[in-house]
Symmetry: C2
């Protein structure tokens, strides 16, 4: 199979172009008319680093590549717009597997209103999917960066933490599954393999007046640290307030880990952490998930995760190349 043939098969599978995209896949470049302001993010996942081909389907790889990229747009409060994919294909990966992977991308793209507008296919020693996503807003000021948190702001969190880390443990140590019901185990694995970008929640938080926002890819501690550094403030997080996903405590216990440490350090939950003035909290509605106040923004620097009856949690993420 040649690059051109695969790209032609990809083009056949795409839904009709949206009005903003004037020229889609198949020319030297895609042509779009953005309107207001754009938020652009790039993200890559590599077999053996971010996923393992032997533990998931090609569709799940495609899903995860787009989902983790779109999560960055969610953290800006952006409306999803276009996606561009670079597919690095190893020897031995079939055309059918490539198409399955693409279907994983297209399914999530359609669900989130994202247009797959361009792509490149190359040989690579390991399956690699690099995604570029472009999101939109009427003006640059509508986007929420990491830099606007102010002392006195409340820290809020969407959804629940720890499911992706517990799911990874279940994939690595299947025997841990006996600690939870089969249904719960399956849901935890899904949260690891098919993360869900919080695009609706991100827009709702931006509209409500979030001053800073980030998606939790590296873990609560590490990602909160980015907000603290960029906003030049301190963040105080109440560990007891951090909601853990169902089954996380049981899996952590079975693995001999502290549940909060696992949930806050494991990353990959792709929930959103936002700062906003407490009086704006009631405006943060119409979201697809729960919203929990987990702490506050203070003068100073750094992140402190306090918890009842224990030492402060070391807010370290996975600070390595991954």
């Amino acid at each position: 199979m040649g690059e051109f043939e695969l790209l032609a098969r990809i083009r056949e599978r795409l839904p009709p172009a949206v009005p903003r995209v004037r020229v889609g896949m198949g020319d030297d470049a895609a042509v779009t008319v953005p309107g207001g302001a754009t938020a652009t993010s790039v993200d890559a996942i590599v077999d053996g680093v971010h996923f393992r081909r032997d533990r998931c389907t090609p569709a799940q790889v495609g899903h995860k590549a787009l989902a983790t990229a779109l999560s960055d747009l969610a953290a800006m409060g952006a409306e999803a717009g276009e996606a561009y994919v670079v597919l690095g294909v190893p020897h031995g990966m079939s055309e059918e597997e490539c198409i399955e992977l693409l279907d994983g991308i297209v399914t999530l793209a359609e669900r989130t209103g994202t247009a797959l507008a361009g792509g490149d296919v190359t040989r690579a020693p390991a399956l690699t999917v690099a995604m570029t996503v472009v999101g939109h807003a009427a003006s640059a000021e509508e986007f929420v960066t990491r830099a606007g948190a102010r002392p006195g702001d409340a820290l809020v969190l969407t959804g629940e933490l720890g499911a992706a880390a517990a799911g990874l443990l279940l994939l690595e140590q299947p025997e841990l599954a006996s600690a939870v019901s089969a249904e719960t185990a399956e849901r935890l694995r899904e949260r690891q393999l098919e993360p869900n970008p919080r695009l609706g929640a991100g827009r709702a938080l931006a509209r409500a007046g979030a001053t800073a926002m980030i998606d939790l890819s590296d873990g609560l501690g590490a990602d909160a640290g980015h907000v603290a550094a960029e906003s030049k403030v301190g963040l105080r997080i109440d560990g007891a307030a951090v909601p853990l996903a169902n089954g996380v405590a049981e899996i952590a216990k079975a693995a001999g880990l502290d549940p909060l440490t696992m949930a806050a350090g494991g990353g990959e939950d792709y929930e959103l952490l936002a700062a906003m003035p407490p009086e704006r909290l009631p405006a943060a509605t119409a979201m697809e998930t729960t919203l929990t106040t987990v702490g506050e923004v203070v003068e100073g620097a750094g992140v402190e995760v306090r918890r009842p009856g224990g030492p402060a949690l070391e807010p370290s993420g996975f600070d390595q190349l991954r």
Copy 2:
């Protein structure tokens, strides 16, 4: 070295942000205010597929990654805008090499007026550089696609062909260098390792009224085939009119190859092939390189490369995953 540290070092080395980029590298996404229309292209190069680390410097890898991506913008007639880089770093590649690679990107970015606005760093089994580039125009109609060539248009080519293929031969078979002067050999190797995106020529051709345009990455035959297919026309190319770079004939002869076949099939010259009404040709001025009429657009389909006293050239490129 962690990802965050490398990204921080990258940020330090960036030139000051341009007005269009409101939020640059370091947040969840870059924020830009595009104005009119955008052209977006993604392109990846992989060690062992598009280059070999043992044959070039890290800076040349960075240069080539950005140059080949910008070449797609040149082929749209776009003004270069922003670039986003995904760097896949293999074990054993040092932080200094990463920074050298980045410097290769930044040097070409500054020369071409491109803002490096975002990036991601990950582990990978082989050095991989995926670039996303965004170019601009006042309106979508100003961009030149592959689809607008009309029967009666002239086919014009920037610069000269064959240098990149000859340079690759010289890298693979250093003994061929005796066929040309040391200076010529060095220039041919440079055309392979440090291609030059024809951004100025692309804009000039677009302003002059080019109806279709493509950059020659896969080779004259294959790329002309894309224009023919998308424009639903035939292209007739006069092989004798195709200008070959200095030294190409000698290297081809020393390697036992036909010079035109090598020049038209080898690709990677990143010159531009454009169609335009013959009466518009005088308007195509103010370019950084020569412009040669090499053929014409006719009714029909496909590409015919005619040459004096020989059979028609098979217009095949490198139609495989590379």
